[in-house]
Amino acid sequence: MKWTPLVATAAFLTMLTVPPAFADKLDDIIASGVLRCAVVLDFPPMGSRDTSNNPIGFDVDTCNDLAKALGVTPEYVETPFPDRIPALVSGRADVGVASTSDTLERAKTIGFSIPYFAFTNVVLTRTDAGIETYDDLKGKKLGSVAGTFEAILLEDDMKTWGSSSTFQGFQAQADVFQALSQGQIDATVVTSTVAFATVNSGNFTNLKVSGDAPYPVDYVSLIGLRQEYGLLNYLNLFVNHQIRSGRYQELYNKWVGEGAAPNLLIPGSYY
């Protein structure tokens, strides 16, 4: 059948162009009784697995709270960082509770809630690499998870340094730490929470935190499909309630540590 491939292609193209019947995602979630959260589980303390392999962390608990508010059961869809959005768009997950930085570039594709957490970045290096501050990164072998907030800023700075430093972009946070520990790279820039959790985990004894990276605060949001206003509105209110009920502070103390949780107000601006 020499026409078969042509017909198949035509059918596929038709499928892509015919607009789908509009059904509100929020209704769908409530009706199905299940909230499927895309979570990243190699990013402690936001997401990881406990000794019996169950998902745990700040993001996992946030997903649980959201499901409870909706009156449904939570289900976790584990995704590596680059696959968060494909998981949403292809319908494998309903929302992403996955520490997603709210860049304007990404907002062209995906819908963001108001920030539910904020990160600052630090330099993570090997104890024998001779790196004490961010400025010492010049001329070193660097790496990070490709395309993340901190990776983009690091690569931009490296361009202005113009020296012989090299950059390797990995697909998973765990691979960055492995490469750093083995010496394929000398340092990485990573969110402070993850850096301290990794150093304190005892899995990598030769790693240490060497000062702050001079980057703006990295606000992260819950994500949903861009056109699902009903769901995005709900997510905004949910985040607001997490903060006003004190649950945000409680989760921070449970997963990250002592002290006050990061301020999510952007100084001098409306949201």
């Binding site: 789908p20 990404r106 395309g147 390797q168 697909q171 394929q184």
Partner: protein
């Protein structure tokens, strides 16, 4: 079921970057083939060796290369050797991994090719005064390459596609690396991956057609 509007214009703006990546992909594939062919010939000679050590090297290499995933081989070249203190960068680790894989497959292909050259060819060459080395390189090898040329082309295409595994060891300059980088920055997954798929297809097609032309030029009677 498919809640997505395609944005082709900004995606196509990234085409020069992706073509640059395609060049790196081709570069790795060609290097891994050239080295792989050299190692493969040596291994195929080892395969008929009576020396236990040489035969052992051949057997182990071919067994591991053909019966473990290429992904695992590349991972071992990067993190495995790294554990032993041998630190290859992403580019080299990918090259070593694919070359290891290529050499294993090609060794078996060449072994078959050598069988296809009749013993009488060697004997005739020797009786005409060629020494053993000359008889092998000037008489047997050219005939073997004629017999295995098409399987070799397949391996070349396979090598091109295997380069996409470089992202697992942090390579971000090849076609998949560039694509993945654009993807996480913008989240326009489907556009960039569609363009990448077309580019891979075109590279593979050009290589296949090129190989056919070379075969026609080199191997006609």
């Amino acid at each position: 079921m498919f809640n997505y509007t395609f944005h082709w214009r900004p995606a196509l703006n990234a085409l020069p970057q992706m073509l640059q990546g395609a060049l790196v992909t081709l570069q790795i594939a060609v290097l891994s083939m050239v080295i792989g062919i050299a190692v493969g010939v040596v291994l195929s000679v080892f395969s008929s060796s009576r020396n236990k050590l040489l035969y052992g090297i051949y057997a182990t290499w071919v067994e591991v290369a053909r019966n473990t995933p290429a992904l695992f081989q590349i991972y071992m070249a990067y993190f495995g050797l790294g554990q032993l203190g041998i630190r290859l960068d992403s580019f080299l680790a990918l090259l070593v991994g694919i070359t290891f894989n290529n050499a294993g497959y090609l060794a078996e292909t060449f072994r078959g090719g050598l069988r296809a050259v009749p013993q009488t060819q060697t004997r005739a060459a020797r009786s005409l005064g060629f020494n053993a080395y000359e008889a092998f390189t000037l008489i047997v090898l050219p005939q073997m390459f004629r017999a295995v040329f098409h399987p070799m082309t397949n391996q070349m295409v396979w090598a091109i596609l295997m380069t996409s595994l470089g992202v697992v060891v942090g390579l971000n300059s090849d076609l998949t690396g560039v694509t993945q980088d654009l993807n996480v920055r913008t989240f326009r997954t489907f556009e960039y991956f569609a363009i990448a798929a077309v580019l891979y297809y075109l590279i593979a097609k050009v290589v296949t057609l090129g190989a056919r032309l070379i075969a026609w030029r080199l191997f006609r009677y």
